[in-house]
Symmetry: C2
């Protein structure tokens, strides 16, 4: 019972964090602002999430769970290439969380950063998922002759890389259209 209450509180905090991120962006998403929204002291919040990074990593994990339809990370489950395109459409409507992902990913490559392990493991899983998606779509070879395993890091890289270009110039970079152009490339042409 105490555990269920604690779980519910945790979920409430994550929801509040998502809202604060959406309203104020990555920098504005302080532990204090999130604590205030759920009616906790900052000290009380630290009981659930000891650092801002820990809170943000939990937010990103929660997003991943939602985006994959509540399924496990390692299952290729519900993904298909056209659903990935819809996910990119959806991301283009939530700059706050995309900014949080991109800023934290940038920090994570520095020495001893607390989010490094999260991103390292996440990429391992995402590449495996993307390879499974590509195999389901194309079999053992893409039209270009690439294997799904060779194309998976590229699919992942394009999604991440386009986010930076879009965040910096949302009026210039049409992220959903660019991602669909990449799918055209994977299919070997405008078929």
């Amino acid at each position: 019972m105490a555990r269920a209450r604690s779980e519910a509180r945790r979920a409430e905090i994550l929801q509040a964090a998502v809202e604060v991120i959406a309203e104020r962006g990555y920098r504005g998403a302080s532990l204090g602002a999130v604590a205030e929204r759920v009616g906790l002291t900052q000290q009380g919040l630290l009981h659930y999430f000891p650092t801002k990074e820990a809170l943000l990593v939990a937010v990103l994990e929660e997003r991943d769970r939602w985006d994959t339809g509540g399924g496990s990370h390692t299952s290729a489950g519900p993904w298909r290439l056209d659903l990935l395109a819809s996910l990119v459409d959806y991301n283009a409507m939530r700059p706050g969380i995309v900014q949080t992902f991109s800023a934290l990913l940038g920090e994570s490559v520095t020495e001893g950063h607390p989010a490094r392990e999260f991103f390292t493991e996440r990429y391992e899983q995402v590449r495996a998922e993307m390879a499974a998606v590509l195999r389901a779509e194309f079999g053992d070879r893409l039209p270009s002759g690439l294997t799904p395993e060779a194309a998976a890091p590229l699919l992942t890289a394009v999604m991440d890389g386009l986010q930076y270009q879009w965040l910096l110039a949302p009026e210039t970079v049409d992220m959903p259209a660019a991602f669909r152009a990449f799918l055209t490339l994977l299919h070997g042409g405008q078929a």
Copy 2:
């Protein structure tokens, strides 16, 4: 004469910063460490670069100048797709500067960051350069039917996105091989 001396000093500081970054990484590259290496006080260094971000942006600008053969940013000048592959090979041998680029890019998407303008303008230029490279290689249409302008953000995104995957898992991700796989994709197959 004073101006020439100042320019020389500036170049010396940038060189020292590149060395400190290579040895200690992004976090270790403090203004103090760079000042020490060139025999300046930190106060003296601030005369040339008022913040760590300003110094790092200058380092990245200098790298861009070197990488493009000393040519102007806006000229498509010496670039060809096979030279881009060589640049990726080269980057795989200098993790410090790649880490600096990637970490600063991540920070730059947050509100009011001092490197935001640098990266926004840089992407504008890089996309134009990449479009010119692709047009020189393929003409007005790639084998996939994409225009050079549609493929340019993808080429840029793949380079940046692969760097994150590689920095987080250098033993797992073969960045140069992955980039060459992308070139195969652009060419429409293993021709």
